[in-house]
Amino acid sequence: MKVGRERRRTLVCQELVEVITDYLEGALSPGDRARFETHLAGCELCDRYVEQFRRTILQAGRLRAQDLPDALAAELLDAFRGWRG
């Protein structure tokens, strides 16, 4: 995503919140990446927002820690025995 107008030199907060994922995914141009980092270094509120954004991503990954119900795992094993036989 391109940030702001072509000749724009700085990034405002409203623009920054739209490109955080682009930033994290390495999808910003070097210029936009530098503008992002410059803004972040000087804006406590955006820094907080980005930190909360990162933590949201991390915590979403914790939802992965779930096992299969035992009964379902047992049925799958039965299916495997049937597949072999």
């Binding site: 907060c13 409203q14 909360q52 949201t56 915590q59 495997f80 072999r84």
Partner: protein, 229 residues
């Protein structure tokens, strides 16, 4: 464990999954010889995400479990012909998707493909949170993000906060829910998600960003309610 988790010398699978073709072949040999521990390892690796995927589709838990069972039957049948062109999980993903729509058409809600293109309009955070054009610094924060007061009872790691994240994801429009589930919950790479869903990198990123922004906002509300309540 009977099979190696190492990547082959030829490098990783095309989209970065650890299950390369040769690893799958080694597993297949174990499976064919009836090695139940090899099967259980495969199930414990892929079963949980398949169930979460099926739950996103199925209208009931019972149907979700049936989809998983039928999908495993299809996986076992198809392993012989799996050629490693996609990663194992992208391949399994396509099987679950196929089984869901082919055998459980009436008991699922599918994600209309058009959703991947239409759920990307508008800002991720409402314009009202920023100063408008009449302000000396338009686009700066008007309603900034409040700090999250994370005492032990309120921290992000509590069961309650986790539930907030889970239900925020469930409430998302279907395409956003699918992308954030695969990327942030399951930890798939962007390439895998694009391959599995048949969407472009750009679309994937926009959907992911909107989803993450929404979930962060729900957490902001959660922490706000905790602070005032």
């Amino acid at each position: 464990m009977a099979f190696s988790r190492l990547r082959p010398a030829s490098g990783p699978a095309p989209d970065g999954d650890r299950d390369s073709w040769s690893t799958v072949q080694a597993r297949l040999v174990s499976l064919r010889s009836g090695d139940e521990s090899a099967f259980l390892a495969l199930v414990s690796e892929h079963g949980p995400w398949m169930l979460r995927l099926a739950r996103r589709r199925a209208l009931s838990e019972a149907i979700a479990e049936e989809i998983v069972q039928e999908s495993w039957v299809a996986v076992l049948r198809g392993l012989d012909s799996f050629e490693g062109r996609s990663s194992l999980r992208t391949w399994i993903f396509s099987i679950v998707t196929h089984i869901s729509s082919a055998q459980f058409n009436k008991e699922i809600r599918s994600v209309p493909f058009s959703a991947y293109g239409t759920e990307i309009a508008g800002p991720s955070l409402e314009a009202g949170r920023f100063q408008n054009a009449s302000h000396p610094e338009p686009g700066s924060w008007l309603t900034p993000p409040p700090a999250w007061d994370e005492s032990p009872e309120q921290s992000l790691t509590t069961h309650e906060a986790q539930r907030t994240i889970g239900s925020a994801i469930e409430k998302l429009p279907p395409a956003q829910r699918e992308v954030i589930s695969l990327r942030d919950v399951e930890g798939w790479s962007a390439t895998e998600v694009c391959n599995a869903l048949g969407i472009t990198e750009t679309n994937q990123r926009v959907l992911l960003h909107r989803a993450r922004s929404r979930v962060r906002l729900e957490l902001e509300t959660y922490f706000g309610a905790e602070a005032s309540g």
